[in-house]
């Protein structure tokens, strides 16, 4: 667990380092995540200590975000007069993108399954 946590912190530091050096407009923690994913894919396996550390942190995501999400109640002056515009954007945006993702994924899954079927018939 502690070893796993140390690995996560190490990749966070590496991510921050890469971000600082390249000046990439992507957060250091996200770069660290991608680098860790690449490492795991190359190694092909993940240690139990790393699984434990990441599971316990991910389990408490809601808790860790709570201080930030509470801030929305103190934005009254900023979003007061525009709340309905925000709500409308979120509603339309979510409705459209849910439909698009459903239809694209279904079309693509059907396409792949038909392709595999054809391949099965040929061989």
């Amino acid at each position: 667990m502690l070893a796993g946590f140390s690995w996560l912190m190490l990749y966070l530091v590496i991510g921050n380092l890469v971000q600082g050096i390249t000046g990439a407009p992507v957060a250091g923690s996200v770069l660290g995540m991608l680098l860790l994913l690449i490492t795991l894919l190359i190694g092909g396996r993940v240690s139990t200590s790393l699984i434990d550390a990441s599971r316990s942190l991910i389990h408490y995501f809601s808790l860790l975000i709570l201080p930030s999400s509470t801030g929305i109640f103190f934005l009254g002056a900023t979003i007061g007069p525009i709340w309905w515009k925000l709500a409308l954007s979120i509603l339309i945006g979510t409705l459209v993108s849910v439909c698009v993702s459903l239809l694209v994924m279904r079309t693509m899954v059907n396409w792949q399954e038909r392709r595999e079927q054809r391949r099965g018939e040929v061989s």
């Binding site: 912190m9 990441s54 942190l57 991910i58 930030s68 698009v100 993702s101």
Partner: protein
């Protein structure tokens, strides 16, 4: 200055009070969530935020002070975000089997989720700062908060928007999937994870384990994809 105010100021000079308040609000929200049989319309993040906001409003401290002291908790979002690589790695088998469908849906779904929302908000005349806070609305909160800070938006506004989006996506995706005849658990799960991150993923797991697996896969992939693509897009368009 009253005794009460004085004592609170004393307590606010260390992070302990802010952390205890956050922990208690979270635990109460969690208990309430289980008591109500895990409803997707009332995730602990939402009820916990309401509770915490109420307490901060009642105590003689402002949100700035609180969030500054709660930084001790917020800092852990860094290693937690890095840790998302582990479930993503564990889900990789699914990606390999359905590589092309997954990638095509990820790119179109991820971009459409951001573009339609920002587009509508732009058409309604909202300010650039609000548009920046809306861009990451479908991404899991820790990554969304990081993306928004990078873009120059308001992180706490994004955290709220992400929660609302998650609740909405969790509620509307299953009926829409039946309506559009897309109720294959892989298709429905993937759509839920792209659009409604962790909140919709929790709902997807209650529908079927397969939907849940695909939803968490989509959530992780969209987090990684959006975290890389949205800042770059904003950089080039900006």
């Amino acid at each position: 200055m009253s005794m009460f105010t004085q004592v609170t100021h004393q307590l606010m000079s260390t992070p302990a009070l802010a952390i205890v308040l956050t922990l208690v609000a979270y635990l109460i929200a969690l208990r309430l969530f289980h008591r109500l049989h895990d409803p997707s319309w009332a995730p602990p993040l939402l009820t916990g935020s309401c509770l915490l906001a109420l307490v901060i409003a009642l105590l003689p401290m402002d949100y700035q002070q609180y969030s500054h002291q709660a930084l001790w908790l917020t800092l852990l979002l860094g290693p937690a975000t890095v840790g998302l690589a582990v479930p993503l790695f564990e889900q990789f088998l699914h990606i390999r089997q359905l590589l092309i469908p997954v990638l095509v849906t990820l790119v179109t779904g991820g971009l459409v989720a951001s573009a339609t929302t920002v587009g509508v908000a732009w058409a309604l005349g909202l300010s650039p700062e609000i548009l920046e806070s809306l861009a990451a609305k479908s991404v899991t909160t820790p990554i969304a908060v990081v993306i928004t800070s990078g873009l120059g938006g308001m992180a706490s506004l994004t955290a709220g928007i992400v929660t609302i989006t998650g609740i909405l996506a969790a509620a509307i995706t299953p009926p829409l999937a039946r309506l559009l005849r897309c109720d294959d658990p892989r298709v429905m799960g993937f759509a839920m994870g792209i659009n409604g991150h962790g909140i919709a993923t929790a709902r997807a797991f209650t529908l079927s384990p397969r939907s849940g697996a695909f939803s968490s896969l989509a959530m992780g992939l969209n987090g990684a994809f959006s975290a890389v693509v949205l800042p770059l897009l904003a950089h080039w368009l900006g």
